[in-house]
Amino acid sequence: MIKEEKTTKLPQNVLRRLLFLFCLGIGGAFLSATLVRFAPGYGVQERELDPRWSAQSIEALRQKQMLHEGLALYYLHYLWALAHGDFGESDSLKRPVRELLRQRLPVTGNSVVRGLGIAWLAAALLASLGLASRGWLYEASSAAFSSLLLSLPSAVVAMLAVQLRAPVFFAIGVVVFPRLHRYIRSLLVRSYDQPHVLAARARGLGSGAIFWRHVLPVAAPPLLALLGVSFTIAFGAAIPIEALCDSPGLGQLAWHAALSRDLPLIVNVTLIVSLVMFAANSLADLAGRAFAGSVQ
């Protein structure tokens, strides 16, 4: 009976969670926009320094820049438009935000997913190699290598990627990989040292069976949690890396929006970025808890 209650409550929980995440995302977007609106330099443009403009033109320009309505009204209008699928128009790029997002989101998504893929593969590979050979030389060198990568500022990684003509996802992978490697390695080591694994090995189970039936199920929840966190890290790293590598993705758009104080763009970009990150974290949390529940 308890199980039935759980299953009927699950879609309700998911919906409630989604709604909560969405409100949180909107909250984050409005907070950023408020910050931008009241930061110094709002409503001012470089073109004002051009002496060719007449006084009337400058006045007309300034009028256009001002947010005529108060910030609260602007937010209400934005929510209303959002409900109709209209994301508004960018002030600085003079194009509908929806179009900009549609062009740039796939680019960033592509880089992040491929970067994560490479990072996870490399981390899994190195961790498995470590399990196969537990000598101190391997320990020391892998610790040193991953520390080395962790110590490079991501700006330097981006600059190296530009020089070597490596694609952006490679730089993202390099930034994420060391953070994954240490954690995965320690997790696998701890899992293999569990008493039930020892017992299974003593019983003569093959290494494959041990891995799939005994190690992985126990290690799965924290690994899934790590997946969510690594997604957040990769997405966060994508922003400065894309800006430095001149890749036409969301990161460059966010940088441009912040520098040009473009309110509609900032609200939308922050909304998308927050939603993606919250969703990743939540999915990972839920998956981890579900897996842990089923194992027990």
């Binding site: 984050g28 931008v36 520390s147 500022p153 330097v156 020089q163 954690y183 922050t270």
Partner: protein, 268 residues
């Protein structure tokens, strides 16, 4: 301590010593421009050569080490204190309170922190001395960098909350505040130290990233990030390999900070 950890610790101590002795060792004031010798090769007068404006690179490196190594721990301390307060409160109180704090953490991760730093810079009065603006920059980093540690501390606090001794204390009539301060926090102390130690290299790297983007420490002050700014020209680096010294030093110090930590991750 393993041999690796011992080596890392020795290297760190040596660098701290160098930093303290900087004023004695330095060949010339870090801001002085030797205009006859811009971009000079290493020589007896300038052991690491000079930069684009003719300033002695070794002096700038020693002073930069001072700025980065004194201020990054301060920023790490600030962020750890904030994370400790928020994380232990969230884990201990649990339920809705925990959800709110974790949600606020996620929210602050999504904010454009780069923009916040730009804004704070722009709002500072212009006659603030350069050293004060550097301190403020690191303070801002500390105020913005606490999110990573909160989840870890929260999980650990949750574990402590469910432990037996706490149950005993609660059943004896201990008030929540006292529980938090006298029972939960001391048990998490090692975790706090670990988080503090991990945060230091992160802030060193953050400062380096910011300075490369032009938002960090202001000229003519030197910091590691400032010294890394001229790195776009990789072909010139091949001809002048001594220019890599700041990057090498940064990487060595950050690696040592990470390796010294007596982590549970390394097995014997």
């Amino acid at each position: 301590m393993s041999p690796l950890q011992k080596t890392a610790a020795i290297i760190l101590c040596a660098i701290f010593l160098l930093m303290v002795l900087a004023t004695i060792l330095v060949p010339a004031p870090y801001a002085r421009q030797f205009r006859d010798a811009p971009n000079a090769r290493p020589s007896t007068a300038h052991p690491l050569g000079t930069d684009a404006l003719g300033r002695d690179s070794l002096s700038r490196l020693l002073y930069g080490t001072r700025v980065s190594l004194l201020l990054a721990p301060a920023a790490a301390l600030l962020s750890t204190v904030i994370a400790a307060l928020l994380g232990s409160a969230a884990g201990f109180l649990g339920g809705r309170f925990e959800r709110i704090i974790l949600a606020a953490t996620d929210l602050s991760l999504a904010l454009p922190w780069l923009f916040l730093l730009l804004t704070v810079r722009a709002m500072l009065p212009l006659d603030v001395p350069p050293m004060v603006s550097v301190v403020i920059a690191f303070l801002m980093m500390g105020l913005l960098g606490w999110q990573a540690s909160v989840r870890v501390i929260c999980a650990a606090a949750r574990g402590v909350r469910d432990s037996d001794f706490l149950l005993l204390a609660r059943s004896s009539g201990c008030k929540p505040a006292r529980l938090l301060l006298c029972h939960v926090a001391p048990n998490l102390r090692t975790l706090f130290y670990a988080q503090f130690w991990i945060s230091i290299p992160l802030f060193i790297l953050t400062e380096a990233n910011l300075s490369i983007l032009g938002l960090g420490v202001m000229e003519p002050m030197a910091s590691w990030g400032n010294l890394l700014r001229g790195f776009e020209d990789f072909s010139a680096l091949g001809a002048n390999p001594w220019r890599l010294v700041p990057l090498v030093l940064l990487v060595i110090v950050v690696m040592c900070f990470q390796l010294v930590l007596p982590s549970q991750e390394v097995t014997q």
